[in-house]
Amino acid sequence: MKSRKRKTIIMLSTCLAVSLTLFGCSEKKAVNENASAAESSTDKITLTIGHYDVDKNGEIFREALQEFRDENKNINLVEEAVPHDAYRVKMTTLGASGELPDLFVANGSMLIDYIPKGYVGTLNEALDADPAWRDGFLPNSFDEFTVDGNIYGVPTAMFTVHMIYYNKKLFQQAGISEFPKTWDGFTDAIEKLKAIGVTPIAMGNKSNVPVGSTIFSTLADRFTGTEWFHEMKAGKAKFTDAEFVSALTQLQDLAKMGAFNPDINSIDPSQARTLYFNKQAAMIIDGAWAVTDITRDGPEDIEKSTGLASLPPVPGGKGDPLAVAGGSGWSVAYNAKLTGAEKEAAIKLLKKVSNEEYGRKKIERNGQPPVKVTDYDKSKLAPLSVEYFQFMEGKKFTPIYDIQLNPALVEVIYKGIQDLLIGGIQPADLAKKIQTIQDSQQ
């Protein structure tokens, strides 16, 4: 009797310990699931959605989800939201164990990881069934989420990741009347800016993504042309090709001439932005999202004196001299295991976050939607946003390295760029190293 009681106690306590551990791992999820279990009737559909729109910029997305909930009382939508960086790590882990949420936000690189494993559902049927929805998207906005003609994700935005924000007043002070149109003019401007004691370009590359994404993707395309990129992905062109090496060399030359802040590899982009706000730096190079940040967080005089530009053409480059790296980047995708009513509900939600109505809201809050928006209230836009849309008029998008290449390759290139910026490695050696990884991937 006594020993049985003791056994029970031991059992109970181990159960408690184990469940506590598990509970700690996924506290939020467990709570949500409990809540949903309590209120769900028999025919209620539960969908989970993983996303990272937890901050101010993600307000629109969260509102849309809430609206969806109000409109569809029979669907119980459970959000599993964590901040961006943590989200990437979480999704890599979930992807490895095959336990992705029903719907999730994913970029092209993540999809490359998931699609061969059969985790992601295709959207071709649903898009073809609703031509109005399909034709509402901007051209090429599905490129990053298409594999062998199958579409796996609905884009959430379409923008450039390369934009030079420059302070016109500092440029005038240094005796530069307008943003240089040639590479020589650009290097000249850098020297002049150095002469008046400001940092020409402020960047925060601690996480090693910013320089690679916002400068190098565009700079490399200026040299190699987009054709090379596709050939390289198909295994026909190599990173050791002269064009790619000269792009690396050009970037190192910029660093050597002191174009960047010396602590480029130990600060993050928000610290770099502070340098720009304090007029200690004349330029920052960042994605289109900085338009929102500058109008919201920047001092008023900075906002007014900010101009937009892109890298000037490079001598002997094969790429389109005006194109900028960009695209849709992120998409919402659904889990391949969804069927029947659940799948229908998921498609319904996808439409909710990608229709023109959503696009209009996004544009009116200085966002860059992936859909055509015919009429919107221009007066709601910040001047910089208006300038952005003017600037982007007719510009072509070139591939973003960290979106289109697989994660292992991205890490090698971007870590290498960090090394390159401090002169720790020679361009030719780095190109060889990148090619070795590329070979091992096939």
Binding site: I10, V89, P262
Partner: protein, 291 residues
């Protein structure tokens, strides 16, 4: 003897009492270990069994050996820094000249209770190029500011300093406890024999602390071989790979490069290397004792 049954361990109850803790232990240590060994035999996306291919790649991976070398350098710095400085400080505590001993003790121990991430952030502020206190100090003497965390030539040493700073207190407390256990008679005897502080420390206290020293060395070396948080926060292994350590390399492979199989192989490799180093160390210390 009659009372011996008081101390006799019975297998049945012993096992039963151990069940809960063993269960927790296996869930938190054994299962993950076996799992990561299992993952390490799979391909990058953990879909296919590839045998020892990951380990073959690991042996040839120059980045892995580079980070191992970095780990060894950090371990040497930490052994000298943490254990050396802690020993010197605790031997000061054995003299009669020290005032307000408990205040000093608390102050020295305080960094140990900080979370490594906090230490990392704290020191990245200290090292900051523009706002950091170190460069402010250099500025007072009209010296050029130094890029503490950006220069591959010395970034490894700058990231080691916070490690030393944080854990001196731990070894200090261990040594102090050890020293206070040394019989007063021995110490008094050598004082009467005319030994000064230096002689007392080197020839009496140090040899008597051999066992404590072994514990401290083991803790210090195993601790620094698996160091991660500080470096992750301060540089993330950068610039490039200059401050890369094994744990950071495993993390990068598994979580940013999405190569879970290879990442697991790195951590198993790490385990093996750490085990070898600790075994060699034990052998060396044990052998000296016999000789």
């Amino acid at each position: 003897m009659n009372n011996s049954r008081l101390f006799k361990l019975q297998a049945g109850p012993l096992l039963r009492y151990l069940v809960p803790i063993l269960l927790i232990y296996s869930f938190t240590v054994l299962v993950p270990l076996v799992l990561s060994f299992y993952y390490s035999l799979q391909n990058e996306s953990v879909t296919q069994f590839v045998g020892l291919q990951n380990y073959m790649a690991l042996v040839k991976d120059s980045d892995f050996w580079f980070s191992f070398k970095n780990n060894i350098i950090i371990a040497v710095i930490c052994v000298i820094g943490q254990i050396g400085i802690a020993f010197v400080i605790s031997s000061f505590f054995m003299t009669n000249m020290l005032r307000m001993a408990s205040l000093h003790r608390i102050a020295i121990f305080l960094p140990v209770v900080l979370a490594p991430v906090v230490t990392g952030y704290l020191w990245s502020m200290i090292y900051n190029y523009r706002l950091g206190i170190l460069n402010w100090f250099l500025n007072l003497f009209n010296m050029e500011p130094v890029l503490w965390l950006d220069n591959p030539d010395y970034v490894l040493y700058t990231v080691s300093v916070p490690l030393v700073w944080q854990y001196i207190g731990l070894y200090f407390i261990i040594f102090l406890a050890g020293m206070q256990n040394i019989s007063k008679d021995v110490l008094e005897a050598c004082e009467i024999d005319g030994a000064n502080w230096y002689k007392k420390t080197v020839f009496v206290i140090f040899p008597l602390l051999r066992n404590v020293m072994t514990v401290a060395l083991t803790l210090c070396i195993t601790g620094t071989l698996k160091v991660f948080d500080h470096i992750y926060v301060m540089t993330g292994g950068g610039p490039g790979r200059s401050s890369m350590v094994m744990a950071q390399y495993a993390y990068n492979n598994a979580f940013t490069m999405s190569r879970l199989g290879y990442g697991s192989a790195i951590s198993i490799g790490m385990l093996i290397l750490c085990a070898i180093i600790v075994l060699v160390m034990f052998k060396w210390i044990g052998g000296e004792e016999r000789g």
